[in-house]
Point group: D2
């Protein structure tokens, strides 16, 4: 059989391409579908089936885009009223060459969530793999807070303990997400796992009974980015067809300033140190690899988006990151990159950088220490004394808590999210803002004291 | 200044990308425009101008496709009533960074043909280059048989002798076509040339006066493929926007046979030897690199097109070849390539292959020797005794000249066009058909006698 | 953790790249090591350990090449006296970031064979994966015929039943080979497997006891290509360092003929149909994708090797296929590909092609049907009546069995190995040779009678 | 004919690949020769000749590397006693397919300098192109200061006026360098030029007579980087063979610090803003695209070199830049890039950044303005009032001129060379160092006053 895992980095989304003979199926395709067309050509097979394990809320699914190009059928759980595709239910079977794919309804993360078992009839009649969507991950289970938490958690318990685990220890588990996804807080970074390995090692499964499982799930607090709402609607109704990746226009300083007046969103995709060394005033700092994680928190879907990079290389990567989250309002880049700006004698903004040693040495009451990590990290890992915690995603809403007249020293895990926060503070008129590079990670490594409630 | 020549192989079409500062222009873009977008990104410039030297008849121009993505303006001669773009005339000037592009009307090939001179003001005020479209090539001049030959030839004489040559010997000439193009019969394969070099070496320019030039032009016989008509219409009205390259579907034997019943055009893109060794009955043989030259003679624009290759590798190349000629009716490939066919126990057709020595030895009156080269090659280079000349492009129309009851030995220059001809004969029911591999080239090399009228 | 499977196609060799933090290890590297250097760069890690599961006999291992570039240490079983690297034994442990790799001696395939278990301490203290080398495959076990079969088979039983299977059903199994490898006859094409899945489905494991296992193993007949001897020596002593892939020189017809006189080996890497349609006399036909499987049977390590292809594209692929098997005696290609040959008025050879229907219809006693499949296929799947079986690898040695005065119709599974056989017959002076395209596969599909002893 | 220009960016070196039939020649190959091997394969030709227009001093020539792989012969002027290759002299002719290459001795830049004319006999018997090495460039002529300036300049005059210009206006000129090269100060950025265009526009050719030419040449002051000496020796004796590109090892913080103790050279290849925002103390800042221009000024050939980048992407580019200049002492990179450093709680250095407006506003006597542009720019373009000029390449030698107790504000053309200078100052213990971003370019754009002697 043919088996390929297609990973979308950082949003940590997994899709799967499975085939046999001259036929193939795709599970949970992403929106930039070229990778599947290349696999089709590489293996000389025809994609005939597209499965969605559930209506996703963390990225835009590519089923319609793929179906539009290939004519393949789309299948998803029938417990939600999708505007496209075909509903399936427990026990439905599909043949793809010698493969047999069978639907297993596994609600919990969402009501219409399905898992799909795979048998390779060429080698045996036993279940070989199971695509678990957002029900079971390596090291975690799906979040259950998109509806009534208790009901959802109960359903998930039943799905996992009564449907997935009984498949047998030797069955390979292919989940829809890897480490870093917002769909589960403790997902590990194993490429694959098995029912047996999860039974032994997955913390969420070490419970006495359903009740304990529900209780534990109820305690979990996970961030809920604002863009999730948009994803839900797009994935229920079917997102717009792209046909090809949007093209980023090359802009002059003059054009950029015009667009800026018209509310364009300027995203500086350089590294935190580069942003510190100089940046376009009123731009937001989101480093390149952080785009998949933070555009959904920081940008809106209406105003055009302009990117600032050093050399405008590999823009294609940036475009993919954004359209996977439904951001089709991409406009362009500053031609020539950031240096065009200062060569053009424009004003620049700065953010100071400190090491952890600098903070340790210089801390006094003129300083306000702002911790922008997730609330659960603040609680579980502890924090620097006197720091004030506001999750970077909430900073714009909670600015009242940050004094305007102090020197704001910001930290996060290592300095990246801090740059986002610092750029927000600068935009909002804070004058003295410092990024403590290395963040909590370096603070710990330096052996400095940690406070824990 | 930035200068890139973008060549479309085999149709031997040249487009040019020129830029300065943060700006660029494209001259005669092709329809698969990704290459220009990549250059834009590579050089960090914005394409602001698109020029068409004339309404082409040998390929579909990509101006609208490019303009649709970028918003750049299109310019072409104002002596034709285009459905899109802006008309320009003698003396119109355009600034692209420090470059100055100036229009020079140079009718002859077509009435609205323009050339464009380029000055790089950064280095001097002298003309540096001239984009001559189909007026002046390396080693030849544009064909003048798309209208009244005498009038067109006279115009071309004026354009070349009174406008282009006076630019000065040191001016670099950038023509719209290279060797192999159907837009001139004697185009050389020099990448670039100069006014000075052409004055000395271009045979078409070695004339006493306008009269002699017109006389010589009138004698030229060039093939006129049927698809030229289609190109003229598309390029006058603006072709359909593609957005992205069409995708070739993977087909099973059963699907292929179904489509074949419905008049699908099966194109075998393998090499002549492979076609000889076995092929799908009623497929037409056009080797991969011959597609740009012969799909326009052999295929229609309505019935779906299916390709047969060995391994279905680099299908993207095949798709580009076809859409450049306006063939958007591309359907798919046989999944698995040709071997799928014979593994499926299907019937196959054969074409014999002979060396030139075989023909020399075995020739007798049971054999009909068919020469499928261009008529002017037959005349100028001579031919094998007793051979009968029908240009491969005319074969379908002139089958009555080929006896059904003889063994047909076909040859061309080297054996490729012969494979096309052989496939036509097989489709039309000829039973014994042989490809004389090596063709006239090998025949000469072997020192065998040549007949010349 | 970082996990990448690096597959060498067709020889179906798997190597693995595993990492954690800023460190990585490679298991069974291949000789063209660029892929590992790219992974090192991609993941920003340093390869510190190289493991060899055993002294391979079917390909040249790249450990020394990789170590030479990186300085990483090499480890292999201490039961063989390798000329390089470090011996390891049961229970030896290695840390690679948070990974713990532990040696498990698993003799059977060879005496010094080891397996390596992997724990990812970041997720748990349980065994997550096991690299089983040639002990346990998906669907089969390692061959035990490189030494005393009974002893080896007994050892293998112990290794599998007492060491590997007890690791637990949920452990992921990463074997050194996939389907198509000569290291096991029944290896399946699953990308990964688990202890649990193999226990249920692997035919070799469905035995009552050690005795039955040994008996079954003893019955297995697997081909033993002549090049295995060379591999054993190279892999024990360490192969020559390449530094970079050899370059194939472009040769003229004249040069090729000179080399041919000096015993150069001419390999026609085109498809069987192309070889049939015309080829260079005295060349051996091995289609491109068949090179990894058949150069080891057909070519020697001394005389220079010249390849014939259609367009000399992707020569890099051909070079890799060969150096993985220790063929460093690569010389060049015919510049311009096969058409250069016939354009040069050279003599060509032919092989007829028939469909299965042709054989069915035309068979009479003037025909000798030669079946060149593996002996066990002949036995297990049956054959065409009156056919004579000689495995293509043995054909040169057993030519006396093939009558010179008959029309030899050759078949194999589908027509590829047949082309090799046909080329050997032509070289040896057989005049009428036919490749029955589609082979036994098409014969069955056509529903024609099959004979079985 | 086949014609490809192979450009090595930034050192602005041009090599040429010309071919005809199945043969090709390379003129002035670079040391990373893969590009020529790919062209050989692309065009299906055999490289038989390698020409060197002169013994270069600004990069390591790849002739031996290429010849070592291919066996092609090397040719260069016979007025220098090279340790390898064959001497040629005026009038020597070489056939490459239908091309005729003829040697024209054109001393001046060096004594053994040659030019090579090219005729394409397929199109005519006229000279089509001339490869002028470092004799004649687009917009400039070769520098004549590597020996006795007057004698060399006189020779160059004769070479250009008596040998090159008489070839005719229409001849295409292919020089060995483009804009940015240190081999001529005023080379323009035209991809190609012609004798005619140069006669009209090249400032160096607008002289009354030889005497004036010599006088003008004598006035030219060009930088002479220290690495030129090394290049001269390598290119006379033949540089070491590489076989393949060196591999950059991944290093931990600990390893980097160990190497730093042992005099390793740490090169920070990030952009100036990133370096400003934070860097490893005692590292030298040379932005990625500046490496080809400045490693030769800043690094030695003995101590190992370690690179710091953001993400360690495209390291291959960095390696090529360095080995082209003979830097084979490349060691590695910090695994994970610069962020590894601050996550590891290490100390960091800073450089302030100012806009031109900041300097204008804040300038007082506590500030020392350091201009690190080339001396001739300082003279020709003017400078900021009170600034002090030291060419960045001389800064280490002239530190005594820079006061230790002042705030040093450094500027160059735009801010890049400034970062190099700033990093040197920081290494030498200067505490307050500021990079005036945008440099003189922005200063002018802002309309601020310029001083000119």
């Amino acid at each position: 059989m043919i088996f390929e895992k297609v990973k979308s980095e950082i949003i940590a989304h997994n899709s799967y391409f499975v085939g046999s003979g001259n036929q193939a199926a795709v599970i949970d395709p992403r929106r930039d579908i070229d990778v599947y067309l290349e696999l089709e050509e590489k293996y000389n097979v025809k994609i005939t089936h597209i499965f969605e394990t559930h209506r996703n809320e963390d990225y835009v699914i590519g089923s319609l885009e793929l179906s539009n190009t290939l004519g393949a059928e789309i299948y998803h759980g029938d417990k939600l009223d999708f505007s496209y595709g075909n509903g399936v239910k427990d026990g439905d079977k599909f043949e793809v060459g010698m493969l047999e794919l069978e639907i297993l309804e596994t609600p919990g993360h969402t009501d219409e969530s399905i898992s799909i078992t795979l048998k390779d009839k060429e080698s045996s009649n036993e279940v070989y793999m199971v695509f678990t969507g957002d029900a079971l991950f390596a090291g975690d289970v799906g979040r259950t807070d998109f509806g009534d938490k208790e009901r959802m958690s109960g359903n998930l318990y039943d799905s996992i303990f009564n449907k997935l685990l009984p498949l047998g220890d030797g069955v390979i588990v292919c989940p829809a997400h890897g480490k870093g996804s917002l769909c589960g807080g403790a997902i590990g970074d194993l490429e694959f796992t098995t029912i047996g390995y999860e039974k032994k090692t997955n913390a969420a499964l070490q419970v006495k009974n359903k009740k304990e499982f529900i209780e534990q799930r109820s305690k979990i607090k996970l961030e809920m980015p604002p863009y999730f709402k948009k994803m839900e609607i797009l994935n229920k109704n079917g997102p717009p067809i792209l046909h090809s990746l949007p093209h980023l226009k090359q802009l002059t300083i003059g054009e950029l300033k015009e667009y800026q007046k018209k509310e364009a969103q300027i995203v500086d995709a350089r590294m935190p140190t580069a942003f510190s060394g100089g940046h376009i005033p009123n731009s937001i700092s989101i480093w390149r690899k952080g785009l998949p994680l933070f555009v959904g928190w920081m940008l809106n879907y209406e105003d055009p988006i302009i990117f600032i990079t050093d050399l405008n290389r590999q823009l294609d990567e940036i475009v993919r990151y954004c359209i996977r989250l439904g951001y089709d309002n991409l406009l362009g880049v500053l031609a020539g990159g950031f240096s065009t700006w200062y060569k053009g004698a424009q004003e620049i903004g700065h953010v100071n950088t400190w090491t952890v040693h600098d903070l340790k040495k210089k801390y006094d009451e003129s300083i306000f220490i702002l911790d922008v990590r997730e609330e659960n990290k603040w609680e579980q890992e502890g924090h620097i004394e006197d720091a004030h915690n506001i999750w970077v995603g909430d900073l714009k809403q909670r600015l009242a808590e940050v004094p305007k007249d102090k020197h704001i020293v910001v930290y996060c895990d290592s300095g990246y999210k801090t740059s986002i926060a610092a750029s927000i503070l600068k935009m909002k008129g804070y004058e003295k803002v410092t990024n403590m590079l290395g963040g909590f990670m370096a603070w710990k490594k330096a052996g400095y004291p940690i406070e824990k409630e």
